[in-house]
């Protein structure tokens, strides 16, 4: 079984910051907007390097989204930065009308997604954002798994014309994808080969899926792990190819099962190849305060939860 090495825990938000810093140097049309969370979003370096292209809008997210939409008129590529909750639910109508329906080239970059921002609790955690964003026509939705991939995605979305939602997080997690790797929007990445079960994971759950696959391998279960960094447009073929071999699937995400990656996968399977599926996701609930590890455990979002789901789905084949 192919294994991956953690080169050292890092936060995905820092991957975003590093990508934005690089874009500042390589693409003069990139501008950045922030709603009073510059440090949390790791936008400080871009701000220091390019003060004329950094726009502090204050605690006014709706205005930030509107300004970003307007800035595209004349050729700028705005990257907005705030927490995932304030990047989506708080400004849904602004994104819907001024960005998505108006087909504006705005990159909505959202940190602290899911429960793993930890102690701040449910007001600042969001488990509904993937659903909200994927429902918007024309919106590309990306949820990256580690530092390197988040940096690569940040660079890639600047080259893509159209609205993008880029979701990442706060905790330091395993960094295992290649440094300066390619990032192709909409193209799934198969991480391991296996014949018994497909594990389709996104975001922080990708590393957990690899950990689960390792444990399952020792029990003689071959798990094919697919890293879905782009939830929309979804790489249908990668999923169908894998399940046609394995015959069952577990989806894993730090998000409500309603509206998440799992539902998108279920639709593809229902249309083309009905397949037993189990969902590793939160169960229609808000989060709460706690450490990231405690929350991942309590809400069933870690490798052991994935292993359990695999054993369950194998029985349904």
């Amino acid at each position: 079984m192919k294994t991956y090495t953690n080169t050292g825990n890092k936060d995905t938000r820092s991957g975003f910051g590093a990508g934005l810093t690089e874009l500042g140097k390589t693409n003069e049309n990139v501008v950045a907007l922030c709603a009073d969370l510059t440090g949390s979003l790791k936008m400080d370096e871009f701000k220091a390097n390019h003060p004329e292209r950094f726009f502090q809008v204050g605690i006014a997210e709706a205005n930030m989204i509107g300004i970003a939409a307007g800035m595209t008129i004349g050729g700028k590529i705005p990257f907005t930065g705030t927490f995932a909750n304030f990047s989506t639910g708080r400004v849904y109508d602004q994104i819907r009308q001024s960005v998505a329906y108006s087909d504006k080239n705005v990159k909505i970059c959202a940190s602290h997604a899911g429960v793993t921002l930890g102690e701040d609790g449910a007001t600042h955690q969001i488990l509904e954002d993937i659903g909200l964003m994927k429902m918007l026509p024309g919106m590309t939705v990306i949820n990256t798994c580690d530092y390197n991939q988040t940096k690569a995605a940040t660079l890639a979305i600047a080259k893509h014309h159209g609205p993008v939602y880029l979701r990442f997080g706060r905790p330091k997690v395993a960094n295992f994808t290649p440094e300066n790797g390619d990032f192709e929007i909409g193209k799934a990445v198969k991480l391991t080969d296996g014949n018994d079960v497909t594990i389709v994971a996104t975001g922080h759950l990708v590393w957990e899926a690899l950990e689960a696959a390792k444990a399952l391998h020792e029990e003689g279960i071959g798990a094919e792990v697919i890293n879905i960094h782009t939830i929309k447009p979804l790489d249908d073929n990668a999923i169908l190819d894998s399940v046609s071999k394995t015959g069952c699937v577990v989806t894993a995400e730090e998000h409500n099962y309603l509206g998440g990656l799992g539902e998108s996968v279920a639709r593809v399977l229902a249309l083309h190849q009905p397949t037993p599926q189990e969902f590793v996701a939160t169960n229609d609930t808000f989060g709460e305060s706690g450490t990231p590890a405690q929350l991942m455990d309590k809400y069933g979002l870690n490798s052991s939860a994935i292993e359990k789901a695999v054993k369950k789905v194998l029985k349904r084949k």
């Binding site: 809008v57 204050g58 709706a62 300004i67 939409a69 307007g70 008129i73 004349g74 050729g75």
Partner: protein, 281 residues
């Protein structure tokens, strides 16, 4: 010097367009459209510097953003008669497969429209963004926007108003259509707006009032003055006092025609009060 008579003739024709558009589909918003006819005619024919043709980026020309998108009939009529798209296309207003959606949108590719509007309160933020980009591009042209007075009840406006002053967006002229009416009645009954001049000034804007916002000469004079106030470190607000339904006597001074189309008989009365000048579409 602008030929006032020509602008007035165009305004009369625009009023006919508005009435005929909303009558045909028995829907749309004639009241606010009629109230802003003189403003739109003046803006697109005298006040703004625009290039021939249309491209989304609008570099090297003035830009306009309509925030209160429901007054699309006046916007469409004036855009068509300024040459952005064929006047005959006004026939398709609100019909299936039309570029002239109920509320303006870029989605169908209608020349002249740079952002969707309709859900209220978003246009000033977008205009500010466009103004920021003009500054980055070292483009000295101005950005104009129009907002309903009732629309200022949406909180996002005040985020934008605070930002524009705090960031010296002095290449922006935001006009408020002060007609004192909204769907449910007079603004002072629905949710009082208070002293708008004092509010904008308190936020750090330069404020100019046009008392007779249905008089073309007053609009031209006021907007020319507003232009002279740009580039001085402050955004400019124009409080344009208009009469909702202006030019059609039974539609004036009431919110009743905010979102209601005239019937056949009412259309005839309205058209008789505005005889054809440039030719109906």
């Amino acid at each position: 010097m602008p030929n006032i008579q020509q602008l007035e003739d165009l305004t009369t024709q625009v009023r006919r367009d508005i009435l005929r558009m909303v009558h045909k589909v028995n829907s749309g918003h004639p009241g606010g459209s009629l109230g802003c006819a003189e403003f739109f005619v003046s803006l697109y024919n005298e006040i703004m510097e625009t290039k021939d043709g249309f491209d989304m980026d609008g570099i090297g020309e003035d830009l306009f953003f309509l925030s209160n998108g429901h007054i699309s009939p006046v916007f469409y009529s004036v855009l068509a008669r300024a040459g952005y798209f064929p006047v005959d296309e006004l026939n398709t207003f609100r019909l299936i497969d039309s570029r002239l959606q109920g509320h303006p949108t870029t989605h169908e590719g209608l020349p002249g429209v740079r952002v969707a509007s309709g859900s209220l309160g978003q246009g000033m933020s977008v205009a500010i963004g466009a103004a920021e980009t003009k500054k980055l591009n070292n483009d000295k042209h101005l950005v104009y926007s129009l907002h309903g007075d009732g629309e200022l009840q949406e909180g996002q406006n005040w985020e934008a108003i605070m930002y524009a002053a705090g960031n010296k967006i002095d290449n922006l002229i935001s006009t408020i259509d002060v007609n004192g009416q909204q769907i449910d009645g007079a603004t002072h009954n629905v949710l009082p707006l208070g002293n708008l001049r004092a509010k904008f000034e308190a936020f750090g804007w330069t404020v100019l009032e046009i008392k007779n916002g249905n008089n073309i000469e007053a609009i031209l004079k006021g907007m020319a003055e507003a232009k002279t106030m740009t580039g001085k470190g402050k955004p400019v607000c124009v409080l344009l006092q208009t009469v909702m339904g202006n030019g059609v006597d039974f539609m004036m001074h009431t919110h009743a025609w905010h979102g209601k189309a005239p019937n056949d008989e009412q259309l005839e009365i309205g058209l008789a009060q505005n005889p054809e000048t440039l030719g109906d579409y």
